[in-house]
């Protein structure tokens, strides 16, 4: 299995989009932190609250984690590399498993990189404006850890979606439309038919709850993580079955 994971990690690193992921994370996280600190002129930037919200700007990594997760599965079908991949590893479940593990590793790396950028921008800035920094505060570290776990969950969701949908364009577009439109519509419909509570169990509402920032109608943290994992497992099982049955022609 470790050989397979190494092979999957090598696949990710040996195409140029790898650098695009890293650049997007660095640039957008940097901009988001700068915007948040810069626009907070009237607020006390020396509080734990303010600073733990800064940690959340590392959330840019989540979107990239799910795109990566979807892509590492669907690229193989898109370019037909699934043929040599399955010839080398006829157990298709093992291949999906190795992709999931590689996705976890890389997604954790994305979140870490993002956190480093947050720190690199925020620490000097806060020092310059004479705000007290709370690097040692457990709240900050909990948030950071939750960001990493959250990124991992999004990557796993991506791998599962990729295995279910298999067409790269359909999976990427479908997922983005679902995140930004589909669930909002469903939440509206749930409201109309008086089952508002159910909305929190939708996959990306659960994932939202699982980044630890909390929010109005979302589940609390623990249940958010649990429901996210259930969705990943459900889609993963369907995806593994579909991949297993598929004729590779």
């Amino acid at each position: 299995m470790s050989a397979l994971v190494r092979s999957e990690l090598l696949k990710i690193r040996t195409i140029r989009s790898w650098w695009a992921y890293l650049i997007v994370i660095v640039v957008f996280t940097g901009l988001a932190v700068a915007a948040q600190i810069g626009s907070a002129d009237g607020i006390d930037r020396g509080t734990v609250d303010f600073q733990s919200d800064l940690v959340e700007t590392a959330g840019i990594a989540l979107l990239l984690a799910i795109i990566l997760g979807i892509t590492i599965v669907t690229t193989e079908f898109r370019f037909g590399t699934v043929t040599p991949t399955f010839l080398a590893t006829p157990s298709r479940q093992l291949v999906i498993g190795a992709k999931a593990i590689a996705g976890v590793v890389v997604a954790a790396g994305f979140a870490l990189l993002s956190l480093v950028v947050v720190a690199a921008v925020a620490l000097p800035w806060l020092t310059i404006v004479d705000a007290e920094t709370h690097l040692a505060d457990s709240e900050i570290w909990t948030r950071a850890a939750q960001q990493i776990l959250s990124s991992v969950l999004w990557a796993l969701m991506g791998v599962a979606i990729g295995a279910v949908v298999q067409s790269q364009v359909a999976a990427l577009v479908g997922t983005l439309v679902w995140i930004f439109l589909g669930e909002t519509l469903l939440i509206g419909i749930f409201g109309l038919v008086d089952v508002d509570g159910a909305a929190a169990y939708l996959p990306f509402q659960a994932l939202d709850a699982a980044d630890g920032s909390g929010g109005g109608d979302l589940l609390s943290y623990g249940p958010g993580v649990a429901v996210s994992l259930v969705w990943v497992a459900l889609l993963g099982i369907v995806g593994a079955a579909r991949t297993h049955r598929r004729d590779v022609t």
Partner: protein, 295 residues
């Protein structure tokens, strides 16, 4: 070595392979022939566990491909030269597969040298010519130094120099006692390389034989030249033969030379030439497969 037994596979309305059985003997090079759409790729993909047959199945080295332990070390295959990520370099493509198979990086350099691709190895595959892609495909198949090779139309898109290079490579691989199954839709392309042929048409077996047997079994016409061609023609036609005048006193007759010689002798006709016209490989092939493609 490779056993295909009662294999059937349908895609929607297309019956790609129908109750196909054949075997490939160890240590031989077998040509797997059929016109476009005959079901060659579908059969090879079924053998390699990529396509799920509707009925029947195949074994490689005694077991279904999917149950092989460390398959890269036992069986090498190229199905399509384009099954590579265009943005990855040739070397990295091989490194990825070598990593999955637990092979060292040095092996990647060995196969690159073997297919004469070392110089282009660091370029992205996007910029490769078809011939370079075919070489990369062969390098992929040879990574694990397998005893069995399955190649689907490896000569596709190669120029004459490339075809010769491939033929020499296949011969040297065969000389190392490997079992090779190589598909083609051009019999002449593989005739000099293969020991045996399996010919399929519309998904069913047409013939499984040695190259010599295929040629011998063909309905080749007999060529006869005589100063009395027109009289001979009348006699042969009267005997029920189909005769074509090919000019300069030469006739093509669909009868064995013995029969023609007897008729000529009985009528005192002088013959200047009496030979079996060696049907060209293409004619044999066209004859066996009905001279048409299934699409």
């Amino acid at each position: 070595m490779i056993e295909v037994a009662n294999l059937s596979k349908r895609f929607g309305k297309t019956q790609a392979v129908r109750d196909l059985s054949f075997s490939v003997e160890p240590g031989t090079v077998t040509g797997f022939l059929g016109p476009n759409g005959a079901g060659k790729s579908t059969t090879l993909r079924s053998v390699l566990g990529l396509v799920h047959p509707d009925a029947g199945g195949a074994t490689v080295l005694g077991v279904p491909y999917r149950e092989l332990d460390r398959p890269v070390h036992r069986v090498g295959a190229v199905l399509e030269a384009s099954e590579v990520h265009p943005g990855r370099s040739g070397r990295n493509h091989l490194r990825v597969l070598a990593a999955a198979a637990g092979l060292p990086r040095s092996r990647v350099e060995e196969v690159l040298a073997l297919v004469e691709l070392s110089a282009a190895a660091k370029r992205r595959v996007k910029g490769y010519s078809l011939g370079m892609r075919q070489r990369l495909g062969l390098a992929t198949a040879l990574l694990g130094d397998p005893e069995v090779l399955v190649l689907d139309e490896p000569a596709n898109g190669l120029d004459p120099a490339g075809v010769r290079w491939l033929r020499d490579l296949l011969r040297s691989l065969a000389a190392e006692d490997r079992t090779i199954l190589v598909s083609s839709h051009v019999l002449a392309e593989v005739a000099q390389t293969v020991d045996r042929v399996v010919i399929i048409h519309r998904g069913t077996l047409v013939q499984q034989a040695s190259i010599a047997e295929v040629l011998a079994g063909a309905q080749g016409a007999t060529r006869v030249r005589s100063p009395e061609a027109s009289r001979l023609r009348g006699l042969l036609t009267a005997a029920g033969a189909t005769v074509t005048d090919v000019g300069k006193g030469t006739l093509a007759v669909d009868r064995a030379p013995e029969k023609i010689g007897e008729i000529a002798a009985a009528n005192g006709i002088v013959l200047h030439e009496l030979t079996i016209e060696r049907a060209t490989l293409e004619e044999v092939f066209l004859e066996l497969t009905g001279g048409e493609t299934t699409q």
